[in-house]
């Protein structure tokens, strides 16, 4: 039996009288990856904050390396070998890799001189061990998010961390970066570290986990070896009821064309010469879901952003909305023409965290909800109440700040904001990202309801089952060009992936 690094027993925590954790336990062995699973709001983050020393008031006990302990602060926890790799990276982009790694623990000589050279050498050794191709003297901001994440892990190791907590570390990574992360995790395990891994992705959970612990509604449900926990059981544990993994699409006969693109092009937002979207044409009809398949850099995201006017007028080609010519100009312009966009980054682009749920929902629809420029709280409240019901948004009061909601509920608020604009075409960029299983199925049901009411959807999602099950048609994009088109039922994961990777064989789309 490998060494037990961590043992949390009977952990409980409540905020303002509301119990968020009750009698939860979790242990971690040296050399294992322990996946912590549960829906949004199940208490995973709270448990990890206790472990990180952020919450110092809690019930229960924490034993570290066999000795009972109690952290007084996050620094205290870090000193004792616990390191959290955050979803949002905590590196300083303008500083060099080695300065970041040794931040606040600089190696200083007499008189406070910094020993840059020694730091850089130590840093190089560390990064080498992780197999990350990085120059210690280069600024962190020069590297991609995936590499930055590896740097953050290196920083944790420099702290001599033995317990690493990774909270959805792959959410912003490309496929090769994910692979590298998993390789790094393997080498960490071999070095005797334990990893607590939080994820919402089924494939990933079964890929990395040695053991899995499930929380639900702040309670401990169970812990099991990966191989002894079938997926159906895991889902059942997480949601408390058996749920079919089947995604249901209730496709009706589509109506008249509502969005027609002819040779639509968008220049690269980063300024590279090759256009990000290159002469894409399609026609979208009422009540239809068009899926856009593509890997990182395929141009799918740039396409919907370009349509929505995020890049202003810098687009080419012809667009018709309901038969009338449309030229992207600004988001406000797009909204007036019945287009709405759900961004894939709700924290940065989707919501105003300091505003209430009501005010977020009404924000994009204010021109309609405040006739004459006069705010009408009654109209806004009524609209928000209706959408809260329709989308099953769980919130104590609609006047709460959006920042206080869980991820899934925030996503629903972002969706509600789009819907309140009464769109004809809804552009959905990763509508289920960071959302728990229950909320996902809510969103699938809603997509069916919206199309039934005549709204047309453009769907971008990195989850293949979702794309295949929901889309009535799929366009595969590669480097800004359409490489294949599939009708419902004709698409297989392999074919779609192959087309997204640039292979056009077996398809006659290019004619």
């Amino acid at each position: 039996m490998p060494e037990l690094l961590l043992e949390m027993r009977g952990i409980g925590k409540s905020f303002s009288g509301q119990i968020v954790l009750e009698d939860v336990r979790l242990d971690l062995r040296a050399g294992e990856t322990h996946v912590l699973a549960g829906e949004n709001g199940a208490g995973k983050s709270t448990l990890m904050r206790i472990l990180a020393g952020i919450y110092t008031e809690y019930a229960g006990t924490i034993a570290l390396y066999g000795r009972e302990t109690r952290f007084g602060s996050p620094q205290d926890a870090a000193r004792q070998g616990i390191s959290i790799i955050h979803q949002e990276l905590s590196l300083i982009p303008s500083m060099t890799v080695s300065d970041n790694i040794f931040l606040a623990r600089e190696q200083a000589g007499p008189a406070g001189w910094l020993r840059f050279q020694r730091e850089r050498e130590a840093c190089a050794v560390l990064l080498d061990r992780l197999g990350v191709p990085v120059t210690p003297g280069a600024p962190v901001g020069a590297y991609s998010v995936g590499v930055q994440q590896s740097i953050e892990i290196a920083k944790a190791l420099a702290f001599e961390a033995r317990i690493l907590v990774m909270d959805e570390p792959t959410s912003a990574l490309t496929e090769p970066e994910v692979e590298r992360l998993f390789t790094v995790m393997e080498s960490l395990k071999r070095a005797g570290c334990g990893i607590i891994y939080i994820s919402h992705k089924m494939e990933e959970i079964y890929r990395v986990a040695d053991r899995i612990t499930v929380l639900r509604d702040g309670r401990y449900i169970g812990t099991e070896e990966r191989d002894r926990l079938p997926r159906e059981t895991l889902v059942k544990w997480m949601i408390g009821r058996p749920m079919s993994e089947q995604i249901f699409r209730d496709a009706k006969a589509p109506g008249t064309p509502v969005l027609e693109l002819t040779d639509f092009s968008v220049p690269d937002p980063g300024g590279r010469p090759r256009p990000a979207v290159d002469r894409v044409s399609f026609s979208l009809r009422r009540g239809e879901i068009l899926g856009l398949a593509g890997l990182q850099g395929s141009g799918a995201e740039v396409l919907v952003n370009g349509l929505y006017g995020v890049y202003g007028r810098l687009t080419g080609g012809e667009i018709r909305v309901d038969g009338a010519p449309y030229r992207p100009g600004s988001p406000a312009h797009a909204l007036r023409h019945g287009l709405a966009l759900l961004s894939n980054d709700r924290k940065r682009e989707g919501l105003v965290p300091s505003m209430s749920v009501i005010h977020n929902i009404s924000l994009a629809a204010l021109p309609r909800l405040s006739p004459g420029g006069l705010l009408r709280e009654d109209l806004e409240r009524r609209a928000a109440e209706a959408l809260k019901e329709a989308l099953h948004i769980r919130v104590a009061a609609l006047t709460r700040e959006v920042a206080t909601l869980s991820g899934g509920n925030q996503q629903k608020v972002a969706l509600a904001k789009c819907l309140e604009t009464e769109p004809r075409v809804l552009l959905l960029n990763e509508p289920t990202r960071g959302v728990d299983v229950g909320a996902k199925h809510d969103i699938y049901a809603l997509m069916n309801a919206w199309t039934a009411s005549g709204i047309a959807l453009v769907l971008i999602t990195s989850e293949m089952p979702e794309l295949l099950a929901l889309s009535d048609r799929i366009l595969a994009l590669h480097q800004g060009r359409v490489t294949a088109a599939f009708d419902r039922g004709a698409a297989t994961p392999e074919a779609v992936l192959a087309a997204s990777m640039g292979s056009v064989k077996g398809n006659d789309y290019e004619r």
């Binding site: 406000a332 919501l351 965290p353 005010h359 924000l363 021109p367 006069l374 705010l375």
Partner: protein
């Protein structure tokens, strides 16, 4: 521990920014009652004079609240106040223009300053601190240029010797007290400004957009908010309020001093911050600023009633600003 529901309810009430700000004000008032300077604190004139004194700062703070809610800062308000004090004195004392012409022109001067700052910030992406710092220096320069560096007052030297001009009735009215000598007119001007800014924030679409822009500019833009217009509007309103304060300044000092308003912007920011409006933008309200104005006003009044000199007043005010902000944060 701390799970007692009664304790909890109290904590939730205390967590409301308005309650916190009011509590700070009440503490100051209690101090006033305690150190009442042989009862002077209990007489209405003390309060009336305090309100008169704080009015110009309060008017500036109205605009500052809008700007800070959008996530910006306006350092130019003191200089714009000085510039408008000069122009209004010039128009009405020296040139004898009717206020019907002079006042709109003066407001236009303030508005132009604000629109310029706002345009620099929203269209040319100059940082608010830099853009309004430049406007602060520039407006002071214009004030000195127009006035020739001298105070614009009733006394004028001409070829025939020294002439003493009439003081305009409009300035007399602004400087007067009404309602049985109980309220200064400038205080009513301040209240009107506060109500105006408050209504804009709470009842009109552009006000809501100011919160959205300050809370998350990118999300606001993607929601169809005209971000550049909203920001420019905030600075334009700030310039407008600075112009109103400038006219009041000229009336109260019976002259247009090109040096007037130096460091007033800092007092205005202090008022907004003591009220509890967040300097990061997105959170705050006009009601908070009103409480902040009263807090600063009473603090200074109580200190001067107790014959604390200017040196001591300034030092204590510094302390109180920090104390008020720490106090508000501890209740969160």
């Amino acid at each position: 521990m701390n799970d007692n529901p009664r304790f909890d309810r109290l904590r939730r009430v205390l967590a409301q920014p308005f309650i916190r700000a009011t509590l700070a004000l009440v503490i100051i008032l209690c101090l006033g009652a305690l150190f009442n300077a042989e009862g002077s604190f209990f007489r209405w004139d003390a309060h009336r004079d305090m309100l008169r004194h704080i009015s110009r700062y309060g008017i500036l703070a109205c605009g500052m609240t809008l700007v800070i809610i959008t996530g910006g800062i306006d350092l130019a308000v003191g200089s714009v106040l000085g510039l408008v004090a000069v122009t209004s004195a010039l128009f009405m004392i020296h040139w004898g223009w009717s206020p019907l012409v002079a006042v709109p022109l003066c407001l236009l001067v303030g508005l132009a300053c604000g629109v310029t700052s706002g345009t620099l910030i929203s269209r040319f992406r100059v940082q608010p601190f830099i853009a309004t710092l430049a406007m602060m220096v520039f407006a002071r320069g214009v004030a000195k240029y127009i006035s020739g560096g001298r105070k614009i007052s009733q006394g004028v030297e001409t070829a025939d010797g020294f002439v003493y001009l009439d003081f305009p009735g409009f300035f007399n009215f602004l400087n007067a007290r009404i309602l049985g000598d109980n309220v200064a007119v400038v205080t009513l001007v301040f209240l009107a400004c506060a109500v105006g800014a408050g209504l804009l924030l709470a009842r009109f679409r552009p006000g809501r957009y100011m919160y959205a822009v300050g809370g998350n500019e990118e999300a606001a833009r993607l929601s169809g908010v005209a971000v550049a217009f909203t920001k420019t509007l905030a600075y334009a309103m700030s310039g407008l309020f600075a112009a109103i304060a400038g006219i009041c300044q000229a009336a109260q000092e019976t002259q247009g001093d090109p040096e007037a308003g130096g460091s007033y912007e800092l007092t205005a920011i202090a008022i907004v911050v003591i009220g509890g409006t967040n300097l990061m933008g997105g959170r705050g309200s006009m009601a908070l600023t009103l409480v902040g104005a009263l807090t600063i006003g009473y603090l200074e009044k109580i200190l001067s009633l107790n014959a604390v000199g200017e040196a001591g007043r300034l030092m204590l005010t510094g302390f109180i600003i920090v104390a008020a902000v720490l106090f508000q944060r501890s209740k969160r």
